[in-house]
Amino acid sequence: MFDFGELQQAIILGKGPLATELTQKAINEECVPKDILNQGLIAGMDVVGVKFKNGEYYLPQVLLAARAMKAAVVLLHPLIVSAGIQPIGTLVLGTVKGDLHDVGKNLVAMLFQGAGFNVIDLGVDVSSEKFVEAVRENKPDILGMSSLLTTSMREMQDVIQALQEAGLRDKVKIMVGGAPITQQFADKIGADAYALEGGTAVEMAKAMVN
């Protein structure tokens, strides 16, 4: 019987070649694609998120784990599609206008992907218009905005305002994060959620889409 724990470990330790090898083995052994995804890959990334949250992991370990997962998902992708497995939700994500910090945003994206979300990453320095357009086009469950600068965090409010004006505000949940953001700020600008770090962001998002 296939050992999902071993696959999880390969992800947790960021061992890309081993993760793909084990994923292939699971496919060959005709494991259910959903189980490979949930009990192997996503379960492994969950642990990575927790380790990062606890300060046990630093950025490189998360990067490695995310890469390992990505490589394994490539193998699994055709089976996921043919089995009709849906992502647990869609996140449109970007760093707001004026801000080019993307390490945290990318990490949040990886953890969301790792948790089974479809992530549409708009990149950095994203204008309100671009956020609005992406929400209109992709109809995500959650719009995530990241900002690391006090000079740019106010842009988040402009985005929310623009969504309101476009009649889209109540069609999407808004999550904000980044070093200078606080719960108080999130409440003030009318965001639905604030997360201090990526692991918590994923947990909150899962609760939101449920």
Binding site: D125, T150, A179
Partner: protein
């Protein structure tokens, strides 16, 4: 105690002694541009900067805030990017800062071509040469009594900012450590050349080495391998060629059991003479764990966003409490973490400097 010149004041701190009053290093980069009423495109383009204006940012902010340790010029963090084939983002909106829009080394294979353009001569690369000319002007005008620091980033940060961006560099460190080392060495050589040029242009005090990789982006074992030796190389050059000390402005939380030992390594193997840690380190922690333990001077950092959003009383209390604990015995400066925010309210900036000079006047007792 008799009033010291700013140079004497900063020197006393660098030696771990009590000055007449605690000095302020506000780490002014872009804020100086806005202080002068300009926008970034008024002072710099992709390929050149205005030396006169670069100098003016220093003179104007010194006149306005009367702080103690200055830089020689307006600088941004991305010299080298354009001459090596990348491009810059130079926002024209108030509060923005220059950053890299396109790095020169996108794929590892790009390095072969990019490295042919190195080394860059800071005196010939127009954006950098303008900052050197500005440093000369500033030094001529105020360098007799005012200490002027040299500034740049050691290997990993230099390579990240000039060549490749953070995630690719970190992946290089993990996947291709030899390749990463080559980039880091190139970054460090660039730093050495630029710092040397700043001293030749008129910098006359401590060298501030800013490292944003630290243990903020990589774990302690990687920091030891990929940050420490580059810091040592620069600190040695600065001491040997200019007789100046090096302060390390390194990011990340050094209060944890796995990161704290790096402080000792930076002192013993990195040859740094002082620490300018980020806002995660309280005055109490710095006093107990660095000044008293290693007899090495430190700066107490106020978090940039707090300097922006706190009330004047909150700023005053932060300074008062921090200095009451850490300043007795000397070896203390104050700094913002990281640089002073470019949109800091004037009255907050004044309050921070004035409170430091007020509560930081010796003798200070706990």
């Amino acid at each position: 105690m008799a009033e010291m010149t700013k140079k004497e004041r900063v020197n006393a701190v660098l030696e771990g002694k009590e000055p007449d009053k605690v000095p302020v290093f506000p780490f002014i980069l872009t804020q100086g541009v806005y202080e002068c009423g300009w926008k970034l495109p008024d002072i710099t383009t992709q390929t050149d900067s205005d030396a006169e204006k670069c100098a003016q940012t220093v003179i104007k902010t010194l006149e306005e805030y009367d702080y103690d340790l200055a830089l020689g010029s307006y600088m941004d963090c991305f010299y080298g990017v354009v001459p090596l084939g990348g491009t810059l983002h130079i926002p024209d909106k108030f509060g923005g800062v220059v950053s890299a829009a396109q790095y020169p080394v996108v794929n590892r294979s790009d390095w072969t071509q990019v490295k042919k353009k190195l080394p860059l001569d800071p005196w010939k690369e127009p954006r950098m040469a303008a900052t050197l000319k500005a440093t000369k002007m500033v030094s001529d005008q105020i360098g007799k009594d005012t200490p002027i620091a040299a500034l740049w980033w050691p290997g990993p940060t230099a390579a990240m900012l000039m060549l490749r961006g953070p995630e690719p560099i970190i992946m290089d460190m993990i996947e291709e450590p030899d390749f990463a080392t080559e980039l880091l060495q190139a970054g460090n050589q660039f730093a050495i050349d630029y710092i040397r040029a700043q001293y030749q242009a008129g910098a006359n005090s401590v060298c501030i080495l800013g490292d944003v990789v630290g243990v903020e982006l990589i774990p302690p074992d990687m920091c030891e391998r990929f940050v420490l030796p580059y810091v040592a190389e620069i600190a040695d050059m600065v001491m040997k060629e200019f007789g100046q000390k090096t302060w390390l402005h390194v990011h990340g939380n050094f209060t944890k059991p796995d990161t704290y030992p790096l402080i000792e390594k930076f002192i013993k193997e990195g040859h740094v003479h002082g620490f300018y840690l980020d806002e995660k380190h309280s005055a109490q922690w710095l006093k107990d764990n660095i000044i008293d333990k290693y007899h090495v001077p430190v700066s107490i950092s106020i978090h940039g966003p707090n300097l922006n959003s706190w009330s004047l009383d909150e700023i005053d209390n932060f300074v008062k409490d921090g200095l009451a604990y850490a300043a007795p015995g000397g070896g203390v400066m104050v700094t913002p973490s990281c640089e002073i925010p470019s949109d800091v309210p004037k009255e907050n900036f004044h309050k921070w400097v004035d409170s430091t000079h007020k509560y930081g006047t010796y003798p200070i007792s706990r």
